[in-house]
């Protein structure tokens, strides 16, 4: 059943036109977005792109083997998941840690369906957890930042203080200190993922204090960081001021006239992860109960070099070197503040 079979009368009617064709296929995968749509230029979008690529490769189209249900808030998660279960999708994928509890519950309630969640861990035999080695990516952008910084002062702006964001924080600091142990990193949390004003206040304060590279892991709050950096750049194009983007390539956000303040971005290839998962599931190898981590090795994490001027050969070379060290296990990137402490001592 391609996702839209008998149970729902309404969708039934709608899909009957393409029904004959669809009957041939026997696999369906759909996703539930966290807050925001599949056009958020971030996570949800990336996941949907992964599904679409998968669809293209396998002759599936939206509403016909692949689909998404958009959530506007926490209250929508469960209804969306349930709707997709009733539409008999084989795999229901949730993008974002916000959906953890709901997927956990759904996995228990619907043991015959398969679930997957991005960015969190769910403990159920019929659920897969797709994680990323954000600390690794953060480490690498930390390396880049340390090379780029002229003042020896870096900033980190977090959204909400949580284990996930702390992973970014720890990786970033570790990377920076690996290059230059004397470098300082000022860490601030906005306690909000969409408070651009707060992001701007924090960035303004950081840049005023001589920080010249800020790494943000703060969603919409990061808009304020970009905004502030661009403002400084506009007034003083000579001033070396940088932002490091997160989750996807935020090069476009950094464009200001002929300059660009986006040094690089720590990209989570949700599309890669999702495509991989879909392929596994299609082949009957759904990794239920497993936790897949997509790191540098799996192409799940990438550091962008879109800003060619800023990401100089030297920096790229150094980043590549450190990447190699991570790959060959020479460097164990810390994921928590405790691990970071130990890491710093070992430097």
């Amino acid at each position: 059943a391609c996702g839209t079979s008998s149970s729902d009368k309404n969708t039934d009617k709608k899909d009957s036109a393409s029904g004959s064709e669809a009957e041939v296929k026997d696999f369906g995968i759909a996703m539930v977005t966290d807050q925001g749509g599949v056009d958020d230029k971030s996570f949800n979008q990336s996941a949907w792109e992964g599904l679409q690529e998968f669809g293209e490769a396998n002759g599936l189209t939206k509403g016909n083997g692949i689909d998404f249900a958009q959530s506007n808030g926490q209250a929508d998660f469960m209804p969306n998941i349930t709707r997709l279960v009733r539409d008999e999708y084989d795999v229901i994928l949730a993008t974002g840690f916000l959906l953890k509890e709901d997927i956990q519950k759904a996995a228990k309630q619907f043991p015959d369906s398969n679930f997957a969640i991005v960015d969190e861990t769910v403990d159920a035999p019929n659920a897969a957890s797709l994680g990323f080695a954000e600390h690794q990516g953060s480490f690498l952008v930390g390396v880049a930042a340390a090379h780029k910084s002229e003042t020896g002062k870096l900033g980190f702006v977090g959204g909400i203080d949580s284990p996930l964001i702390q992973k970014f924080e720890a990786g970033f600091i570790a990377g920076a200190k690996s290059v230059n142990p004397d470098i300082t990193v000022d860490v601030q949390y906005a306690e909000h993922f969409s408070d651009a004003a707060k992001g701007k206040l924090i960035a303004s304060n950081m840049y005023d204090n001589g920080i010249d590279v800020i790494y943000h892991a703060a969603g919409g709050t990061g808009n304020g960081v970009f905004n502030q950096a661009k403002d400084i750049k506009q007034n003083d194009p000579e001033r070396q001021i940088w932002v490091i983007g997160v989750d996807r390539d935020q090069h476009e956000e950094g464009q200001i006239g002929d300059n660009n303040v986006t040094l690089t971005s720590m990209v989570k290839r949700v599309d890669v992860a999702v495509k991989e998962l879909a392929n596994l599931a299609k082949d009957g190898k759904f990794p239920g109960g497993e936790k897949l981590e997509f790191g540098i090795e799996e192409d799940g994490i990438a550091v962008t070099t879109t800003n060619e001027e800023a990401m100089t050969e030297d920096i790229i070379k150094s980043v590549d070197e450190w990447q190699e060290k991570i790959l060959n296990g020479e460097v164990e990137v810390p994921k928590t503040r405790e691990e970071l402490e130990a890491f710093e001592e070992s430097l």
Binding site: A197, K198, K200, N205, D208, N227
Partner: protein
Amino acid sequence: MFDILQSIVPTALFYSAPLIFTALGGVFSERSGVVNIGLEGLMVMGAFVGIVFNLTFADVLGAWTPWVSIIAATVVGAIFSIVHAVASITFRSDQTISGVAINMLALGLGVYLTKLWYGKGQTDMVQQPFYTTDIPLLSEIPIIGPIFFQGVYVTSYLAIIIAFIAWYVLYKTSFGLRLRAVGEHPMAADTNGINVYKMRYIGVILSGALGGLGGSVFALTIVSNFSHSTIVGQGFMALAAVIFGKWHPLGAMGAALFFGLAQSLSVVSAGVPLLADVPQVYLLIAPYVLTILALAGFIGRAEAPKASGIPYIKGNR
């Protein structure tokens, strides 16, 4: 000290400016006797229009884009607020209800149209936002110059200037006298030959214009794009500033500046070594706690314009 001031003042200013505009709108509306809970919605509308206009015309207008955008947002805000005016003045609806509906309508409409026009829940970032500048001449003044006039948004000073204009208009001109009379004792105004409905329409439309202006300035100085979470509570903070400022334009401005200063301080304090060990939550809630303390300690009782919230029905006693 100097450094801290130089860091705090400009940030407080940019944070406050949208609140000042919007709060002034609130003052006009409430002074005319129409409660305006819909400030949040008016800001949403302003932010939406400001961003969309900016995205659409950036190529044509070049450096003038942000200015024309905020004018467009002001105009659309004014037009949008007519909905509130018609409902609460002509149709005698409960003004609070109408304001709440304005909030829902603006957000619904803004995001709906964004999805319709851009096919996604948020717009791109604008290429022509406002940038800070040094105010010519004034920024040269020693000490004061660098603190107050370097690296500031012109819109921040526009907000302050408009606050003074609003004060002048409300307290020195016959228009202001009439507007306030209508909010205090509409029947007295009516018997004096003042068109109560007309004055109230003007009050509400001014609030729409200023709310739209505030929203667009917020979007074009701070966020740079529009989504459902562009305006999250700023309108309510502006409402708080109206009351905090005792329905006086300069008071509202002062309150908005106070909010900006408190936020800025809370961010700056996080970097001060002495305060580094203070759990962050205390710094986060500090601006709000400070506001409550200030209200309880110094500001105290505030009386709304006497007739605000009451629809005026000719000949009712």
